[in-house]
């Protein structure tokens, strides 16, 4: 077994009102960033898992996202590529 780090981005689904994002759009425009069109604020999570392959690591974190890390009613999630972590047991 290896240790893999799987980064996960969780963002509000399209069409879901994101008042934090809207407030930040207003602030950016006030600062003169007139080109800003939209801001969506989500969360970024890294999960370290033990797995035999990067594919298995991805699959287990995908399952964690469906069950707990994201709420499918309001959020979408994107899994990034797993990276091999140094073995912390030694």
């Amino acid at each position: 077994m290896q240790s893999y780090r799987v980064p996960v981005q969780i963002v509000p689904r399209p069409g879901i009102l994101d008042p934090q994002g809207a407030a930040v759009v207003g602030a950016l425009r006030t600062l003169g960033f007139e080109t800003v069109q939209d801001v969506r604020i989500g969360r970024f999570i890294t999960v370290d898992v033990s797995a035999d392959t990067p594919q298995a690591a991805t699959e287990s974190v995908r399952s964690m996202c469906s069950k707990l890390l994201a709420n499918p009613v309001i959020e979408d999630f994107v899994l990034e590529e797993p990276t091999l972590q140094p073995d912390q047991r030694t």
Binding site: I16, L17, I74
Partner: protein, 230 residues
């Protein structure tokens, strides 16, 4: 009638719920620790307000997996009453007992004050002591109370009389002004398809005594009581 009130780490509405059931209503009430697996013969389960698990990840997301939730879900599936208030509403949505989700208030501000809600369905087991269109003054205290869901589920709630409370003005008009958190269609409380789970953001258990607020929340408890007595 016996009320079982679940205490999660971070619950703060459990004492108020106990007071409503035991003192205002004069019924048996007991606290149920979230790590237990025994509802102690409770007829009605209350998921109280608060900040279970510090609202980490999402409000209610972690409490939903507390050990006692297995029994609470089984209790609900049997058709027995579950009253889910504020954080309890968030937990019930996360647990799939109710559709939709509760997100950060549109104003981004925590709101703690007495609001007006209108009774939209006075036939449910939680509301039949009220009348349709009755305006209640009931406190809210939440930062994540904006009810939302996919358009199809919202339509289903509306078409089937499952929206039981809506934020309104003092004269009962549903306006954006009275919608304290930006909930879709001003939704303040809903029931599940079977009608035995009520989720609401306002606190009826904090409105059972005119000394602290209004007695307008009593109707929820009296409705439950007369339903079982009948």
């Amino acid at each position: 009638m016996k009320f079982g009130i679940v205490t999660f780490p971070g619950s703060n509405g459990d004492y108020d719920a106990y007071h409503a059931a035991a003192d205002a209503l004069g019924q048996e009430a007991t606290y149920l620790w979230h790590k237990d697996h025994d509802l102690q013969g409770s007829d009605v389960i209350i998921l109280p307000g608060g900040f279970s698990y510090g609202d980490y990840l999402r409000a209610g997301a972690i409490a939903r997996f507390s050990p006692i939730m297995n029994e609470v879900i089984a209790h609900a599936r049997r058709g027995a009453p579950v009253l889910a208030i504020c954080n309890g509403f968030q937990i019930a949505c996360e647990a799939g007992l109710l559709p939709g989700a509760l997100m950060r208030n549109a104003t981004l501000r925590f709101v703690s004050r007495v609001v007006n809600i209108r009774v939209e369905n006075a036939t449910s087991m939680f509301t039949h002591e009220y009348f349709n269109g009755q305006v209640l003054s009931i406190p809210v205290a939440h930062g994540d109370g904006r009810y939302t869901g996919d358009p199809a589920s919202i339509q289903q709630l509306e078409d089937n009389g499952r929206v039981v409370f809506r934020y309104c003005s003092s004269d009962g008009l549903v306006l954006d002004d009275g919608n304290v958190n930006g909930s879709v269609n001003g939704i303040a409380g809903i029931i599940n398809e079977e009608g035995n789970v009520l989720g609401m953001m306002p606190h009826p258990e904090r409105a059972v005594d005119p000394v602290v607020a209004t007695p307008d929340g009593l109707g929820v408890f009296h409705s439950l009581l007369s339903m079982v007595a009948a």
